[in-house]
Symmetry: C2
Subunit: 133 residues, 2 copies
Amino acid sequence: MNNYTRILREHNLKATPQRLAMANVLHVDGHISIESLYAVMIEKFTSISLATIYKNINLMVENSFIQEVKIPHAKSVYELTKDTHSHIVCEKCGKVNDVSLDLSTIIDNATKQSNFKIDKTDLVLSGVCKGCQ
Amino acid sequence: MNNYTRILREHNLKATPQRLAMANVLHVDGHISIESLYAVMIEKFTSISLATIYKNINLMVENSFIQEVKIPHAKSVYELTKDTHSHIVCEKCGKVNDVSLDLSTIIDNATKQSNFKIDKTDLVLSGVCKGCQ
DNA sequence: CTCTGTGCAAAGCGTTTGCAAACGA
DNA sequence: TCGTTTGCAAACGCTTTGCACAGAG
C-alpha cells in the first residue's frame, strides 16, 4: 500500500486510481489549477469527467488533504497540505513557488494594531521569476 | 464638482449617479462584496441592474480606481485603491479591516530565497476580531 | 447633439447535482 | 456484498453580452 493510499484512507477517502493520480499530479506539479489538472488527468483517464475532478478536489479540501491558494488576477491553484508557508507567483509565466518566511514579527504587529486573535496567514508575493527577467 | 466626479473623469469614466453612489459606498464601507454592494445600491436606485454593478466594477478595476481583495474561503471584496497595506479578516463575522505592516524584511528574505524581482504583496491575516472573541 | 451608460433579457461559463452503473474494501 | 465513486447530462449561479433607450457632457 503506497503513501497516498494510506493518507487517503486516513481521510476516509477510498483510494481510487483517479484519486491516486490526482495526488500524484499535485505532488509532482506542486501547484495546479483545475483546468490544468483536468488536462493532465485526461491523458491517463481518457473518459474522466470534470465532475469527478471537482468532487474529489472538494472532498480533499474538506478533509484538509489539499488546500486552495487564491492568486491575484489569476485562477486558484491547489497544493497538498504541508507546513505553513507563503507563495510567490511570477507575473510573466504564472508559475507559483513556495517560500518559507518567518511572519511572527508581522503577526505581533498586526495583533497590536487590530486586536484580533490571529491564527492564519495567507501571503502571496508577486514579481518576476529568474527565468522571465 | 466633488472628488469622485473628478477622479472618475480622470479615468475617462462619466460621473453618473450610480457610479458616484458606488464610490461613496466603497468609501464608507471600506470593503464590500458584489452582492452586498448590490443590496446597498438597490436602496437608492430601485431599478439598478446587477449588470450595471458588474460593468462599473470591472471598469473601475481596469482603471485602478478600485481593487479586488481575494479572501480565503469567502467571496472577494472590493476597496478604493490606496497605499499598500494588508488585510485582516474575522473568521466569525467576516469583517475585513486594513492593517499597515512593514513587509520590507519579509520581501528581502523572499527575494534571497526565490530570486524573484518582487513588486507586490498580498497578505490576508485571518483570526477573530475583538467583538467576536 | 453625440457618445457613453443604464437596464433588461439572454447567453456564457465554471461548478454542482442527480442518477444508474462500476468499483473498492 | 455494501457503501462509495464514477461519468454523464442536466441544473445552477455568477458574470458577461447585445441591444434599445436614457442621460452626461
